[in-house]
């Protein structure tokens, strides 16, 4: 289990990184913390001709508040955001999600944007970003563009990232006063990939439920305020609308049942936090 060979570049500016990515086309990949990419390299599921290490670009290593958004640069490690003093106030959903996210040992190296770029359908950070209605800043040598999270994830480990582009930052909407947030997950063991993970937001616009681990990407569903009977039907419809599949970890039926039970608990907790 050793990576195939590749050229390696430690650019000193973002422009240099973007030029290398443009030149490399589909054969060049960005490496940040490496906690998703290096396993893929080791198993030779990824065989890039060039890796561009962006962790020495100071401009990407910032967490900034911009209006009603928290902007997390591509070089920010997961543990750095987890330890960010305003996390609980501004991103309570992430504060609830972090304990589920890999292990202390992988959060210490892995980046927030790296997990977004990897786009594992059961991963906590893509789920949180989609549920909050966040966005991804992409940049290539020629242009910059911002893509809504829900449009960024297009399938199983597939994103809207084009050749020559890199993620420059992700934008998490800041928590609004009086809103409730909750995150729950079921996995085989602590730190394993989720069988099903749920994130919920309760605010003055109603309820939103995000679900990971069932469909080929994280999905989010708005729910109107419902009484208990209607609620059962609504969440059952959601469970059936997801393209649940059997695999070695769980059956499709079990996943749907988790959507119903875990989804309900997560929504209740978010509503309670709001109250």
């Amino acid at each position: 289990m050793k990576p195939a060979s590749f050229d390696f570049l430690c650019p000193e500016t973002i422009e240099e990184a973007l030029a290398a990515l443009a030149e490399g086309g589909g054969e060049a990949r960005v490496i940040a913390g490496g906690q998703s990419l290096v396993p893929m390299l080791n198993m030779r599921l990824a065989r890039p001709a060039l890796l561009v290490d962006i962790m020495r670009l100071e401009a990407l290593r910032r967490i900034e508040t911009s209006g009603d958004e928290i902007v997390v640069g591509a070089g920010v490690r997961q543990a750095e955001l987890e330890a960010w003093p305003s996390l609980l106030r501004d991103l309570p959903l992430l504060a609830a999600a972090f304990p589920w996210l890999g292990h202390v040992q992988t959060r210490a190296r892995g980046t927030v944007c790296g997990s977004i770029a990897h786009a594992d359908p059961s991963a906590e950070l893509p789920l949180s970003l989609v549920t909050l209605g966040g966005a991804v800043s992409l940049r290539s040598r020629k242009q910059k563009r911002v893509v809504k999270a829900d449009d960024f994830f297009i399938g199983m480990m597939a994103t809207d990232l084009a050749e020559g582009e890199m993620i420059e930052a992700v934008h998490f909407p800041k928590a609004r006063h009086g809103s409730g947030y909750a995150f729950r997950e079921v996995g085989r063991r602590h730190g394993d990939f989720a069988i099903v993970a749920c994130a919920a937001v309760a605010d003055d616009r109603g309820l939103r439920l995000g679900i990971a681990g069932v469909d080929d990407r994280p999905r989010v569903f708005p729910l109107p305020a419902l009484d208990d009977d209607q609620f059962d039907d609504a969440i059952n419809d959601i469970a059936w609308s997801l393209n649940a599949r059997d695999d070695i970890h769980a059956s499709a039926r079990y996943r749907r049942e988790l959507v119903r039970s875990l989804g309900r608990e997560t929504l209740k907790e978010a509503s309670r936090c709001r109250a």
Partner: protein, 170 residues
């Protein structure tokens, strides 16, 4: 730095267990292999090589990290610590290592170096760590011998001992 060619070895300068070292590594070389095969420190064990088992855990800039998920070139300029640095004297065990021995926190010992490196950070950063925090840190490690209970006991004992040393009058 210029683009580093895949076919050649390139220097990696970093601090290893308090000493400045220069090693040579191909771009594709993992930190775990650099430590074991190029430098000869075989205390860092290699299990799954995809970040699941935790046997290769070392400390990079004071934080626990998987050596098998780190390219050697990524630690250029970093401070790396391995299990060999835990005890200042090779003839003695560190307090954490001694607690593992006392509480039978290991049998075959394959997972032990990684676990020690994770717990060493935890006990340094949070001297009052309790059972839950210890278990959370251990969740990043697989041990097939002990059932973990003795490892938790060893870590709790080491934490207790460390607290007594820091506050001898309490």
């Amino acid at each position: 730095m210029p683009r580093m060619n895949a076919a050649r070895k390139h220097p990696v300068d970093f601090t290893l267990n308090g000493r400045t070292v220069r090693a040579e590594a191909e771009n594709r070389m993992l930190l775990s292999d650099l430590l074991r095969h190029e430098i000869g420190l075989t205390g860092t064990h290699v299990g799954c090589e995809h970040g699941v088992c935790g046997a290769c855990t070392v400390q990079i800039d004071g934080k626990p990290a998987r050596a098998c998920l780190t390219l050697a070139q990524q630690v250029r300029g970093s401070d790396v610590r391995t299990v060999e640095a835990l005890s200042p004297d090779p003839a003695e065990l560190s307090p954490l290592q001694a607690a593992f021995r006392r509480h039978h926190g290991l049998q075959c010992g394959f997972c032990t170096p990684g676990i020690l490196m994770s717990l060493d950070v935890l006990l340094r950063e949070r001297p009052d760590a309790g059972r839950e925090e210890i278990r959370e840190h251990l969740s990043g490690h697989l041990c097939r011998c002990t059932g973990y209970a003795t490892i938790v006991e060893a870590a709790l004992a080491a934490a207790e001992e460390q607290r007594k040393e820091e506050k001898p009058n309490v």
